[in-house]
């Protein structure tokens, strides 16, 4: 017997629950995918929060477009017009941020904060004007702030999906150029890449994702689509193609799962749920990703300290110096010293072997460091890992000879 809710979930997830909800879920997944790919380069360019200014700055444009529409007597809430307004004022906000941080002594964070809140304030004032004018269809304007997938019509969902796919495709086509831009804009400029134009393309793609995300996720949270997936992906890899791919997958999964959950359960606003799902992916990556995750890093650091402490204690014992406290306890746990000897401890045969190995490693590494400082292996953890596992055998033998006590 399968839970009916579960069955329903399965149907939506596999796009079998009616054409409309399938389209909405697919469109949202495409949106997440585009956010992840474009956001990767924003993150690397350290522009993550610029898109926050951009999304908040769309509000006055939406309000003005609404007023224009009303003045022209257009049918209520013409979406293309509203989104055109959003793009226009979003771009003005973006340019203001860039101008403030380029031409004044204000830093980018202040510029972003000032622009996003002042533009938003202007939008709020304009909304109060619209409210006073008592125009029809103004209730729909509110959905731009917190988002609403339920409001999405089929055609809109398809358009969103196509635009998002286009944005992701553009990133794929310009991958090489964007990589140079994100890594070293100065170098790119010297090499003759049109850095300014590439930056414009990148910000244009961010604008596109933001504006098509407005309806679903809302202007307050849409920035999350651009930030969270790449930030989560960052914990899994140091390579850009993999990073972009993982961010795209996390973004798409967040959109897909989020839209499904919100369609399935009552009172779960899609935008917020998508962000929460993405946040869940982030948390998992932050904690458990093997490359840069917290647990892995803590284990590495702890092991490193422990290794050094253990080696020090072992060599101390070998040289006849007493070892006490936690170090002694640890050696006893490892079976390196005999339990019956209370203080100082005497090495067991295993302890003898480990101590000798530690002393040898240290002696040889020191020799290597003294004789070949320029040849330190760049990627290996020299000095930490056993020397035999890092350096070739004939090198180790050479060091053995040279460091032999004369």
């Amino acid at each position: 017997m399968i839970d009916p809710l579960f069955e329903e979930a399965l149907r939506i997830l596999t796009f079998q629950s009616g054409f409309n909800s399938a389209v909405v879920v697919a469109g949202t997944a495409a949106l997440g995918l585009a956010g992840g790919t474009v956001g990767t380069f924003l993150l690397l360019r350290r522009r993550a929060l610029v898109s926050d200014a951009l999304s908040h700055a769309t509000l006055p444009g939406i309000a003005v477009a609404f007023l224009v529409g009303a003045a022209l007597g257009l049918p209520e809430r013409s979406l293309p017009l509203l989104l055109a307004g959003a793009v226009a004022s979003g771009v003005v906000g973006l340019l203001t941020v860039q101008a403030l941080s380029r031409f004044t002594r204000l830093t980018e964070d202040s510029a972003i904060g000032a622009v996003l809140s002042v533009f938003f304030g202007l939008g709020v004032v304009l909304l109060s004007v619209i409210q006073n004018l008592e125009l029809g269809g103004q209730a729909g304007l509110k959905t731009f702030i917190l988002g609403q997938t339920a409001a999405m019509a089929q055609g809109e969902a398809i358009a969103i999906g196509l635009l998002a796919a286009g944005a992701a495709l553009a990133v794929a086509l310009l991958f090489k150029e964007l990589r140079v831009l994100a890594f070293d804009p100065g170098f790119a400029a010297v090499q003759g890449w049109p850095v300014g134009a590439l930056d414009l393309v990148l910000m244009g793609l961010a604008t596109l994702v933001t504006v098509i995300g407005l309806q679903t996720v809302g202007l307050i949270l849409v920035v999350a689509l651009l930030i969270i997936p790449p930030a989560a992906a960052r914990f899994w890899t140091d390579r850009l193609p993999a990073l972009t791919l993982i961010a795209a997958v996390i973004g798409a999964l967040s959109g897909w799962l989020g839209a499904t959950l919100s369609a399935l359960l009552p009172k779960l606003p899609a935008g917020a749920v998508i962000v929460l799902v993405a946040g869940g992916f982030f948390l998992l990556s932050f904690l458990f990703a093997p490359a840069r995750g917290l647990v892995a890093a803590a284990l590495r650091q702890g092991r490193l300290r422990l290794t050094f402490a253990e080696r020090r204690a072992l060599t101390d014992l070998l040289d006849g110096r007493p070892v006490q406290g936690a170090a002694a306890l640890w050696l006893r746990l490892r079976g390196y010293v005999r339990d019956d000897v209370r203080k100082g401890g005497a090495l067991t045969p295993a302890g003898q072997a480990a101590a000798r190995a530690a002393a040898r490693d240290r002696r040889l590494w020191e020799r290597f460091l003294a004789d070949y400082p320029a040849l330190l292996p760049a990627h290996a953890n020299w000095g930490v890992d056993p020397i035999d596992s890092v350096l070739p055998g004939d090198m180790v033998r050479l060091l053995e000879e040279r460091s032999a006590p004369s």
Binding site: R105, R300, L304, R305, F308, A309, R312, R362, W365, E366, L369, A370, D371, Y372, P373, A374, L375, L376, P377, A378, H379, A380, N381, W382, G383, V384, L391, P392, D394, M395, L398
Partner: protein, 272 residues
Amino acid sequence: MQYLWRTPGSRTAPEEASPIGTPPLEIRGLTVAYHRRPVLWNVDYAAPSGGLIAVVGPNGAGKSTLIKACLGLVPSVSGTVEVFGRPIAKQRRLIGYVPQRESVDWDFPVSALDVVAMGRYGKIGWFRPVTRAHKEAALHALERVGMADFARRQIGQLSGGQQQRVFLARALAQEAQLYFMDEPFAGVDAATERAVLQVLRDLDAAGRTVICVHHDLQTVSDYFDHALLLNTRVVAQGPVARVMTPDLLSRTYGGRPMPAPAALGALGAEAS
């Protein structure tokens, strides 16, 4: 009330607690690793009391890291650092620090005098304002580096060399016993170089110990009494006459030409 918040129990003035004869700085078995790759390896060093000490080594040798580890600004994997016989946290008042130049916001709304007065904050302590006496001490320090005329200038409106002199004046105003300076001579003009040198000599004459990262091998012997040759590990240490030898220097900067097995080339070894 001093900023000794970490050790509320310690009531004695640190000066009294440091018996004559303990080295100003004693490092034992210090290893520091970024991620898992060591950048300082098993460093042992005891600085002689009084005098100017140069820390010399190639780029990336870990000189800045050594200073930061001594100051407790980066964590170590193993080893201890003591200042006048006690852990650094209890001896903050005895220590002055001149960081590498690029580390602050030059646009910050402070004047040169404000920056120098910051050196006195350790003496002033919580809640008390910067009094006239402290401002005068700060101005005096500025005078000693020849920057008194620029006291009211915003810090970003000074040239690189002038900024460096302001930071030195701040160290002077600190009236510390042991100074750490990270490349104070880097990228300065001749006038500033003379001013920096004069400050070092004044400090020396006053019996202070100065540990100074220095990149210019030509001037080490002229400017300093002792040297610490560092390349991840301590290559040599002692009076400049004894350690600034071609042999020891070439060992510090790249190593003696030792026959290396060919296989090492395939290891991805880095050349410096």
